[in-house]
Symmetry: none
Subunit: 402 residues, 2 copies
C-alpha cells in the first residue's frame, strides 16, 4: 500500500493566450518536474463533475474527493460561508447575502454601487435574537455570508432578493411549517438591520459623497452543511489538507481531514510554494492521503493574467523537485479542479489535464503535461473517477467481486 | 456569448468500404472545410445514447438535444408518426402499423408480401368513429402509422401484432381501466378495416396476380407525444431546425424549435446543400441555436452505397465553405446521430466523429475529420454530453457551484 499525494492547481485548465504565443499557461511554462511525472505515469483529460459542466471549486473538490455534488452540494449558502472562513457547524443555516441600496422601500441597486468594503457594516449587524446567533462575514464588494446558529433552525425559508431593481424590499417566508420560527427570527433580524444600516456612519458618508448606501441585506441560497461520511470512513484513509483557501479548507474539514497551517501559505499567488509542498511531504509521514490546493492558477485566470498563471505553475513545479524520490512509496497525482482560461476570466467546462505517477506504473506515450499532450494519454474521465483510480494505483482498493 | 450551429450528418459513422480502398466514406472524402474545423477545434468520438447502443435517429436526436430518451422516448408509435410527417398533437395516440396478409382469420404474411405501396389502402381506412378521428399514413413497403385523435384517449392498449405467422388475428385490449373506450373504438376501426381491405380493388388485383393481399392492419407501439420542456426553457436558447426529414422536424417541433422551410431541401441525397447551409447561416441572425440535419449520408448507408455517402459528405463540405468566417461569433459542431455503415446497410453502435470549433478554443492534435483521426482527439463522450459542451464553449453555461 502506498500513500497518496493529490495536488490540485486550482483553475489549471487554460485556452490559448496571445501573450504566450497562442499557448496555454501549461504549454508555455517551464515545468520539468510535472513533465517528469507525466512521462513516468499515466495522463489524461479530466472533466470536473461531467463533460462540459462549468463547475465551481466547491462542487468540483467535492466530486474529486468522491462526494457526488448532486448528493452533497447543499447550495451556495453553506459553501460561500465556508469560503469566507466561517467555521460552519452542523445545524447552522447559511445564506449568501448581498448588500443592496434601498430608497423608500424599493431596491435601487442590488449591489449597493459595488461598495468596496462592507466589513464595518457586517460587524454592526452581528447579534443574537431569541437565542439565535447571527454571524455575518463580508466578501468581495457587496457580497457577504450570513450564518444563523441556534437550536431547531430550518433552511426551508424563502429568499429576500427580488432579483430586480425597483422591486419592493422583502422579508423571508417559511417554505414548510417547521421553518416558521426560523423565518420569524430572520425577519426580526432583517428589520433590525435596516434600522442599523440606515443610521450607520458608513452609509451617511456614502450618501454625502453621492454614493448609494448599503442599507439592505438580501439573503438567498439557504442551506445547511451536508451530512457527509468522513473520508476515513469511506476509504480508510487518514487525510490532511494543505490549502490557504477557506472554501477548500472548509470542504476538507467537512470530510474529516486534518487542516494544516503552513508558514507563508496565503492562498494567493504570493504563497510560499516550497513551504506548501514541504508541509505536504511532511504530512505524508503521518497521513495516508494529502490534498494540496494551489489557488494562484485560478486567481491568475480570473484576473486574465497568462504570464502570472505560467509563473504560478513554474513556481509550483520548482517546489515539486523533491517529489520524484517519493514515487516508490507514494502515488502522486496532479490536476486542476476546473479550467479558468485567462482569455475568459472565469471557469469554463473545458477538461483539465491530469497525471498519475508512481513506481511500477504502466506508462502511456505522453511526456509533457499540458492540455493537448495529455489528450493522447490514458484517460478521458470525470472527477468522480479520480478516487477509484488513486485507490487502485496505491493498492488500496477492495476487490469488487472474486 | 456565442451562437451555436450544430450540423448532424445523419448516419455519418462508417466502416471500411472495399469500393473506397478500405476507407470509410469520411476517410475517402475530399472535405477541406470539415478538416479546417477539426484542425481549429477539438474532436473526438461520440457514442449516441451510450457506448455501443444502436440508436435510431429519434432516440439519438433526442439525446443530442439533451432529452434523455430513457425519459422522453415514448415508443415507436409517436416517433414513426412524426417520421411519416403526421402533425402529431398532444393527446393523440400513435401506433406503428403493419399491413399483413390474412386467410381464414389467420396471419399468412406479417408484411403482406412486402407490398410496394399502400397509399391507396391507407387512404381508404381514414374515418371517424364515436368522435375519434383515425389518421393513417403509409410508410415504406408494408409499414404505416396510425394516429387516433379525440378526447380522453389512452395509450394503455395492447398490440394486435401476433409476431408470428399462422396466428389468429387479434383485437386490442385495454391495459388499464381508463383505456376501455380507446380499446373499443380501435376495435370498431379494426373490424371495419378488415371489411374495407378485403373488398378493396388493390387487394382483389393482388390476389388475381397471385400476390398476397394487404387485408389486415396490425398495430403496436402505442404512445403519446412526450411532455418535454422546451429547448428555450431548458437552455434559454431560441432555436431553429433546418431539415427536410419529417422525423427530425417533428422532434425539433416538440422541443419548440422554429421549423424552417428551404427551397430545394428534400431530405434526400438530391437536396440543395448550398441552400440548406445558407438557410442555417441566415437563421443564426435571429436564433441562438440552429440544428441542421443532412439525411443523405444515412440514406446512402442504408442503400449500401459508399460512393454516394462520400458524395453527400463532399457536397455538404463544399456548402460549408463560408462557415469559417463565423467562428468569432459562433460555436460550430459537426457530428452524426449514429453510424450507418455502407457495409452493414443499417444503424450500428459504432461511435461517430464529432468536432467542435470556435475562435479561442484549445486545439487538440487532430487535423482530419474521420473516425480514426478523431480517436486521438479530446473527447470520448456520449450524445448526452454534447449540449453541456456546446453551452460551455459558447459561454452560456450557468456555473455549478461557486
Amino acid at each position: 500500500m502506498k500513500k497518496i499525494l493529490l495536488i490540485i492547481l486550482d483553475g489549471l485548465g487554460d485556452r490559448p493566450n496571445r501573450a504566450l504565443g497562442n499557448k496555454t499557461a501549461l504549454q508555455a511554462a517551464f515545468k520539468p518536474n510535472l513533465d517528469y511525472l507525466a512521462d513516468n505515469g499515466v495522463t489524461g483529460l479530466m472533466s470536473p463533475v461531467g463533460f462540459g459542466i462549468r463547475s465551481g471549486s466547491d462542487t468540483s473538490h467535492l466530486s474529486i474527493l468522491g462526494y457526488n455534488p448532486r448528493e452533497y452540494y447543499t447550495g451556495r449558502g453553506p459553501f460561500e460561508a465556508l469560503g469566507l472562513g466561517i467555521d460552519l457547524q452542523p445545524g447552522d443555516v447559511a445564506f449568501r447575502a448581498n448588500f443592496a441600496s434601498v430608497e423608500n422601500g424599493r431596491v435601487t441597486d442590488r449591489r449597493a454601487g459595488r461598495i468596496k468594503d462592507t466589513t464595518e457594516l457586517s460587524r454592526s449587524l452581528e447579534t443574537e435574537i431569541d437565542g439565535v446567533k447571527f454571524i455575518i462575514k463580508s466578501g468581495v464588494e457587496h457580497r457577504a455570508a450570513l450564518v444563523i446558529r441556534g437550536p431547531n433552525l430550518s433552511d426551508r425559508v424563502s429568499e429576500t432578493d427580488p432579483h430586480a431593481i425597483n422591486s419592493d424590499i422583502m422579508l423571508t417566508k417559511p417554505l414548510s411549517p417547521e421553518a416558521e420560527f426560523t423565518s420569524s427570527v430572520i425577519n426580526k433580524f432583517l428589520i433590525r438591520s435596516r434600522e442599523i444600516l440606515n443610521n450607520h456612519e458608513v452609509n451617511k458618508k456614502r450618501i454625502q459623497n453621492g454614493e448609494k448606501p448599503a442599507n439592505e441585506i438580501m439573503i438567498r441560497g439557504a442551506g445547511k452543511l451536508p451530512e457527509m461520511p468522513s473520508f476515513e470512513k469511506l476509504y480508510g484513509l487518514k487525510a490532511a489538507c494543505v490549502s490557504g483557501t477557506p472554501l477548500i479548507r472548509g470542504i476538507a474539514r467537512m470530510a474529516g481531514f486534518d487542516i494544516l497551517n503552513v508558514s507563508g501559505m496565503t492562498g494567493r499567488t504570493d504563497t510560499n510554494y516550497e513551504n506548501v509542498i514541504s508541509a505536504a511531504v511532511d504530512a505524508l509521514k503521518t497521513h495516508d492521503f494529502v490534498l494540496v490546493n494551489i489557488k494562484g492558477t485560478d486567481i491568475a485566470g480570473h484576473d486574465r493574467k497568462p504570464e502570472l498563471k505560467r509563473e504560478v505553475i513554474e513556481k509550483t513545479d520548482r517546489a515539486m523537485e523533491g517529489l520524484k524520490k517519493l514515487l516508490d512509496t507514494t502515488v502522486i497525482a496532479v490536476t486542476g479542479d476546473h479550467s479558468t482560461p485567462c482569455s475568459f476570466g472565469d471557469h469554463t467546462g473545458d477538461p483539465v489535464p491530469i497525471l498519475i505517477s508512481t513506481s511500477g506504473i504502466t506508462r502511456d506515450y505522453v511526456k509533457t503535461f499540458d492540455e493537448a499532450s495529455v489528450s493522447l494519454g490514458y484517460y478521458k474521465i470525470t472527477s468522480l473517477d479520480i478516487m477509484p483510480l488513486l485507490l487502485s494505483y496505491s493498492d488500496r482498493s477492495e476487490k469488487y467481486g472474486a
